[in-house]
């Protein structure tokens, strides 16, 4: 019997997902889509959404106490880099209706990694151009200790 995988609409493809998606070119989008599809195909047939060895490529971690739903736990699936899929997985102690369900909550894509790198490079260059003096002498704005 295949495991049901659904998405939770209020958080799925939310604003941050759409913002991150806009930054990807068509090839990157296709690549990410097939990466997530590969995970979901395994989730549909796995014996357990965390411990099934077939899920090891995504190094799932389950966090207890984060979700206040009986039998539900937050699970993080890791992809290369900083992409993550976050799901709520319901185990045998959940109500019968939810047992075994994997409810996908969100995908975090690039996390502005490129933007962060760019900012840091830029800022680093600015600091250098503002003068070696700061690095060597310290800021003029700082008063000398008595």
């Amino acid at each position: 019997m295949p495991r049901l995988v659904r998405v939770f609409e209020p958080t799925w493809q939310d604003r941050s997902f759409r913002k991150a998606l806009e930054k990807l070119n068509p090839r990157e989008r296709e690549e990410r889509a097939s990466q997530v599809a590969a995970l979901v195909k395994v989730l549909q047939v796995c014996s357990h959404p965390v411990t099934d060895p077939r899920l090891q490529p995504w190094r799932p971690s389950s966090y207890r106490g984060v979700i206040q739903v009986k039998g539900g736990s937050l699970v993080e699936y890791r992809f290369p880099g900083v992409m993550r899929v976050i799901a709520c997985c319901f185990d045998g102690s959940a109500e019968a209706l939810y047992q075994g369900l994997v409810l996908l909550l969100t995908i975090t894509l690039d996390h502005d990694h490129e933007r962060m790198k760019k900012l840091i490079r830029q800022s680093s260059a600015d600091i250098v151009s503002k003068g070696q003096a700061f690095l060597e002498e310290g800021s003029d704005e700082v008063p000398e200790p008595p």
Binding site: L4, V5, R6, V7, F8, E9, P10, T11, W12, Q13, D14, S16, R18, A20, L21, L24, R29, R32, A33, V36, A37, V40, K41, Q44, Y63, R64, G65, V66, I67, G72, L74, E76, R78, V82, R84, I86, C88, L97, L103, L105, T106, I107, T108, L109, H111, D112, M116, L119, I120, R121, Q122, S124, A125, I127, L135, G138, E141, V142, E144, P145
Partner: protein, 198 residues
């Protein structure tokens, strides 16, 4: 009781990080002084492949704290900071009053500046919550136990807007509300191709 005292007590790199944060933000309130260095190291570990500070980070009740920063601010001695200590804890203010013993490289300065720009305006409560959100593996009851938090790629990944938005919303979501569920995904290839085209 108000007192103005001078102090070190931090490791040299932590002191330099705090000094730069003071320069960028004007002054630091106590929560910023003990929490922002953690964010600096999370970003640095990913961007530079190493941490900047030599601080000991611990999971305290209100989030991740750099132990040496807390000690340095709470029990100030001589050093490059001036610390104002009004009676209430959160009113403690750290100001720069000299030069740190070591200097940060331009790359390190850029990371500290980035953290100051991104997280320097957050309230004490939001900063605490942010540091907790980077460590979902620490159960609620373990906050306050001095457990060591993550400074790895996972912590960095959780700084993403998507994770932060979800973390904020989670307590208010009813995940068992079936009217909010999609139909079961039948063909993942087709489903995600469409999702990523949207």
């Amino acid at each position: 009781m108000k007192a103005t005292v001078r102090q070190p007590g931090f490791g040299p790199k932590l002191e330099a990080v705090l000094a730069r944060l003071c320069e960028k933000l004007g002054s630091l309130y106590k929560t910023q002084a003990v929490k922002l260095p953690y964010l600096v190291d999370v970003v640095a570990a990913r961007q530079l492949g190493r941490r900047i500070t030599d601080a000991t980070f611990e999971a305290w009740k209100q989030g991740v704290v750099a132990r040496e920063a807390w000690v340095g601010v709470t029990y100030p001695r001589e050093g490059c900071f001036k610390i104002e200590q009004p009676e209430y804890d959160e009113g403690w203010t750290v100001r720069l009053a000299g030069k740190p013993a070591v200097r940060l490289t331009s790359e390190e300065l850029a990371i500290v500046d980035f953290v100051a720009d991104q997280y320097g305006a957050m309230t004490a409560q939001d900063l605490g919550s942010l540091t907790k959100s980077l460590n979902p593996d620490i159960p609620r009851e373990k906050w306050g136990s001095n457990t060591q938090p993550s400074i790895d790629e996972d912590a960095y990944a959780r700084l993403s807007e998507g994770w932060q938005d979800l973390w904020r919303e989670l307590p208010f979501l009813d995940l068992t509300d079936q009217s909010q569920w999609s139909d079961p995904i039948e063909d993942p290839d087709e489903y995600f191709r469409a999702a990523f085209r949207a």
